[in-house]
């Protein structure tokens, strides 16, 4: 799996990560894995008080927003970015 960290997140986790996955995992599990690898990124990716996706970050697969329960696989390309830019 190729994960691209965009914008400010590149400073916290590097711009790209190649991750080998044995099978599929949920986005929730992927976030937990990333939090362990990149402690600086963890506070932005932590789930909110309603156990939903953090307000600071969103995850796109092939340009489409991922939900926490969705499964991601080894061949996926994931982009991690700020939810809002612009005015």
């Amino acid at each position: 799996m190729r994960i691209s960290f965009l914008g400010p997140f590149a400073e916290l986790a590097g711009s790209e990560l190649e991750l080998a996955l044995p099978g599929s995992i949920s986005l929730r599990e992927l976030i937990a894995e990333l939090a362990v690898r990149f402690p600086g990124f963890a506070r932005y990716a932590a789930l909110d008080s309603d156990h939903g996706l953090s307000a600071h970050v969103c995850f796109l697969r092939q340009g489409r927003p991922l939900k926490l329960a969705e499964r991601v696989q080894d061949q996926d390309q994931i982009q991690v970015l700020l939810p809002v830019t612009g005015g």
């Binding site: 691209s4 965009l6 914008g7 400010p8 590149a10 400073e11 932005y44 996706l53 307000a55 600071h56 970050v57 969103c58 796109l60 092939q62 340009g63 489409r64 927003p65 939900k67 390309q77 982009q79 970015l81 700020l82 939810p83 809002v84 830019t85 612009g86 005015g87």
Partner: protein
């Protein structure tokens, strides 16, 4: 209804009459304030014959019930007039502090018509309003003028003041607002409307209070939410509106080379992260806003220094930078500052320069037209030179200042095909091939290609609003349900613009529509529910549409430029698709209750209380 001063300041510059008019309570219940009241007044008090640059045009600046209260991110007002750029509904929403000062001076809004014989400014204070001589500052930029105006009135006043571009009636001139922070009502040429009236500025300051139904309840409610807002907007505040420019470039939302290129490494050099790490000298906030997304930058030396001023926002970096392929952040900062001083809309200015660069590349214009300026992609010197020319209406700047559409029509030779605009307004820096709601909103927004009319693309990435039928972010390329999704967000934004509340309060789901409805009830003392609130938004959106259809706007005008319909940008990782606008519009008209030509049906008008228009 509480929450208002209850007065509209009426000014006729031709007769030099200034009057206070009681605001009609029924109108406030139907339209709240801001964009709603502005649209109602413009619809009722102008005709199809009104010349946008004539004395009969009505220039309105209106606050809302949230203005000046404990509600965060609400120091805003909405300006409305018939646009000289597009000849249809013109509007611009602006933050800062002017709105709060106007309301504290004792007025919820001001409506100006007529034309002064000589340059004047309006001084609005608790004792009333005065029309004063502005001859000493006619010809000066917005910053110089504001300094003089404050010396003549009050140090703490905020000045809605045009620069030389507005005075010269450049059609892409906006209205800078200079107080502790500089903000601009930039879009649709409202600066030219002020210039046409010989109205250099509207200066406001006051301390008069007004009644709020439950101020303690409001304070407590807001207090509970403030930590959440601060947390949710932490990154946005730190890096500003442009913090994710390289995000947007990589996902295909950032405009490049007049909207035809797919990827560009230069984006990473002009992002808010780079600005933060290099030239940022401080953050700036509109009055009482906890987000502080505004930038202050300092460049001491080099070709663009010294600069010690407001930094560019995302849209300005997108148009002056990305669209022109200028990767020199200092040059973009310089161009942005010149726009603030001349009083130019950065979006339209950057877009028309990008259009001119493509015309130069195609040989439609040459150095003979540009007085020697090599108008090539990425040429930072040329970017800055052309801003000067537009601001001064000099040389080719005369034509460029009329906006991309009029310039293209004047140039001929199929130039209209690459003039990127809708209804005469250049788009902001969001690609409709990346977010289909953006395509639909550009096509149907009252003022033309406006992303703020729906502010929907964040809801196709990471935001949700279950209360209005968006339980989770919607697939950006999903066609089914896109009409309803976009229309509901357009209605919500019209309601926000009538309250008035900054869109950024939605970031990180910090403030939701239930908060807004509750705060409206606590302020006005009248119980509101979600349906009533959204119906106000729907009423305002439809009234703006009726203003435009009265002027002949119809399906034929709800288009996207050919480039958005036929050129799918290519590049690594891009997923952009061409929007199926015909299907989207058909669904949209049906959901809106508009006929096949895009006119609100009699039944829809009746339902919204717009029977007479």
């Amino acid at each position: 209804m509480k929450g208002y001063q209850g007065r509209l300041l009426r000014v006729d510059l031709s007769t030099r009459k200034v009057q206070s008019q009681d605001l009609d309570g029924g109108m406030l219940e139907q339209y709240l304030g801001g964009a709603g009241v502005g649209a109602r007044l413009l619809y009722d008090e102008t005709t199809t014959d009104t010349d946008p640059l004539g004395p009969d045009n009505l220039l309105i600046a209106c606050t809302g019930p949230f203005t000046g209260t404990a509600v965060p991110s609400s120091s805003r007002h909405h300006m409305v007039a018939r646009s000289p750029l597009t000849s249809i509904f013109g509007e611009s929403n602006v933050g800062g502090s002017w709105a709060v000062h106007l309301k504290r001076a004792g007025y919820d809004g001001v409506a100006v018509r007529g034309r002064a014989e000589t340059p004047v400014y309006l001084w609005i204070h608790e004792g009333g309003a005065e029309i004063r001589d502005a001859a000493p500052i006619w010809g000066q930029d917005s910053s110089q003028s504001a300094a003089w105006l404050k010396a003549q009135t009050a140090d703490k006043a905020t000045c809605a003041v045009i620069g030389q571009a507005g005075e010269r009636q450049v059609l892409i001139a906006g209205v800078p607002h200079v107080g502790e922070i500089v903000r601009a009502a930039a879009r649709t040429g409202l600066g030219a409307v002020m210039g046409s009236k010989n109205l250099k500025a509207m200066v406001a300051y006051g301390q008069r209070d007004w009644e709020i139904a439950d101020p303690e309840g409001l304070r407590q409610d807001v207090k509970q939410l403030l930590p959440h807002i601060a947390k949710a907007t932490e990154t946005f505040g730190k890096y500003g509106t442009s913090g994710g420019i390289d995000n947007y470039e990589k996902v295909g939302n950032f405009p490049l080379e007049n909207w035809r290129r797919g990827r560009w490494p230069g984006a990473a050099k002009i992002s808010g992260v780079v600005m933060h790490d290099t030239i940022l000298s401080g953050r700036k906030a509109c009055l009482h806003c906890p987000i502080a997304c505004g930038r202050h930058i300092k460049i001491d030396e080099g070709p663009w220094g010294p600069l010690d001023c407001e930094g560019p926002e995302y849209e300005s970096l997108g148009t002056l930078g990305g669209e022109c392929l200028v990767e020199d952040l200092g040059a973009v900062c310089k161009a942005n500052q010149l726009c603030n001083l001349y009083g130019l809309d950065t979006i339209s200015t950057g877009a028309v320069i990008a259009f001119a660069m493509e015309a130069f590349e195609k040989g439609i214009i040459t150095t003979a037209d540009t007085e020697g300026v090599e108008l090539t992609w990425g040429n930072a010197q040329a970017l800055v030179a052309m801003v000067h020319k537009i601001g001064r209406r000099e040389g080719l700047g005369e034509l460029m200042g009329q906006g991309s559409l009029k310039m293209a029509q004047a140039l001929g030779r199929n130039a209209v095909e690459f003039a990127i605009q809708v209804k005469g307004l250049e788009p902001s820096a969001h690609d409709p091939r990346r977010f289909f709601s953006q395509a639909l909103s550009y096509a149907t927004a009252a003022r033309g290609a406006c992303h703020n009319a729906s502010w929907s693309h964040p809801y196709e990435i990471g935001l949700s609003m279950p209360e209005i039928g968006i339980p989770e972010p919607q697939d950006p390329y999903q066609v089914e349900g896109k009409a309803e999704f976009t229309a509901n967000l357009q209605d919500l934004m019209c309601a926000l613009d009538s309250l008035i509340l900054c869109r950024f309060a939605q970031i990180g789901k910090a403030v939701n529509v239930s908060n807004m409805v509750r705060w409206l009830s606590l302020i006005t003392g009248r119980e509101w529910d979600l349906d009533q609130f959204m119906r106000i938004g729907q009423r305002v959106f439809n009234l703006k549409r009726l203003y435009n259809t009265r002027l002949g706007i119809s399906r034929k005008d709800d288009f996207l430029p050919p480039r958005f319909m036929t050129l799918n940008r290519q590049g690594p990782d891009l997923t952009n698709q061409l929007p199926p606008l015909g299907r989207l519009l058909a669904d949209y008209y049906q959901y809106r209750g508009w006929d096949e030509t895009g006119v609100p049906s009699p039944e829809k008008r009746q339902e919204l209380g717009l029977g007479q228009g």
